[in-house]
């Protein structure tokens, strides 16, 4: 069980570095299903585990010259503050309906990102063929 948790932990870190996400998408299920924490504790514990992961990732990215420190700090502070609003909203909104809307919005964003990525890849391969 510990070995499985370690393997999935590494995978969560790889996703985190590759995509700039925290990795909670894998860490929460591992903590809950493999290490046996309840859902609330798994989410809380995942937040603590994410801190060094994101910090090391941001530090490496700075080394690669990709980090915009000012934007990161501003966005981070506002995200931390407004998460409180989000948690409060859960208790007053029809969450079921909002969840479908959020899912649909994410699919739309996925389509836009995917479309622009594919056109870039096409342009790159056309450029490579020309040269």
């Amino acid at each position: 069980m510990i070995a499985l948790a370690i393997i999935i932990g590494v995978a969560a870190g790889v996703l985190s570095g590759l995509f700039g996400i925290g990795g909670g998408i894998l860490l929460v299920p591992v903590l809950a299903l493999v290490l046996g924490l309840d859902q609330v504790d798994a989410e809380a514990t995942s937040l603590l585990a994410i801190i060094p992961v994101a910090a090391v990732g941001a530090w490496r990215q700075q080394g690669y010259g990709n980090l915009d420190v000012r934007t990161g700090l501003i966005v981070g502070v506002f995200a931390a503050l407004s998460a409180i609003v989000g948690v409060a909203l859960v208790n007053v909104l029809p969450v079921e309906a909002v969840r479908y809307a959020f899912g649909a919005l994410m699919l739309y964003v996925a389509w836009r990102l995917g479309r622009s990525a594919i056109s870039q890849l096409r342009a790159d391969s056309a450029g490579a063929a020309d040269s």
Binding site: G13, R60, Q61, F78
Partner: protein, 110 residues
């Protein structure tokens, strides 16, 4: 604006900030996938620290469990950031788009 939207969504749906933040940095600010990932990770350090501090007060954090997954994940993030510099940004963006589809499905069906 982006920070506020990120926080509200992550508080509402329990999704991490990055999954919301990275697309906004790419589509609205015009960052490429590497710059967006880098900046998102720094923002996550702050947001996760605030969240973890609050959860520590409630006594919901399991330190040993956090270390069990956190230490391997730190090793993983070194691999992930290294790998990201060697994959074309457009391909990273396409993979991210696939990840978003998976998360959209998870959010709806859970």
């Amino acid at each position: 604006m982006i920070g506020i939207a990120t926080g509200i969504f992550s508080g509402l749906f329990g999704v991490g900030g990055g999954i919301v933040l990275v697309p906004m940095l790419v589509l609205w600010i015009g960052f490429d996938e590497r710059q967006a990932a880098a900046t998102s990770l720094l923002a996550i350090v702050i947001a996760a620290s605030a969240g973890a501090a609050a959860q520590l007060l409630y006594g919901n954090v399991h330190l040993v469990a956090a270390l069990t997954v956190g230490i391997p994940a730190v090793a993983g993030v070194l691999i992930g950031t290294w790998l990201q510099q060697r994959i074309p940004v457009a391909l990273v963006q396409l993979m991210f788009s696939g990840l978003l589809v998976v998360v959209a499905v998870l959010v709806v069906i859970r």
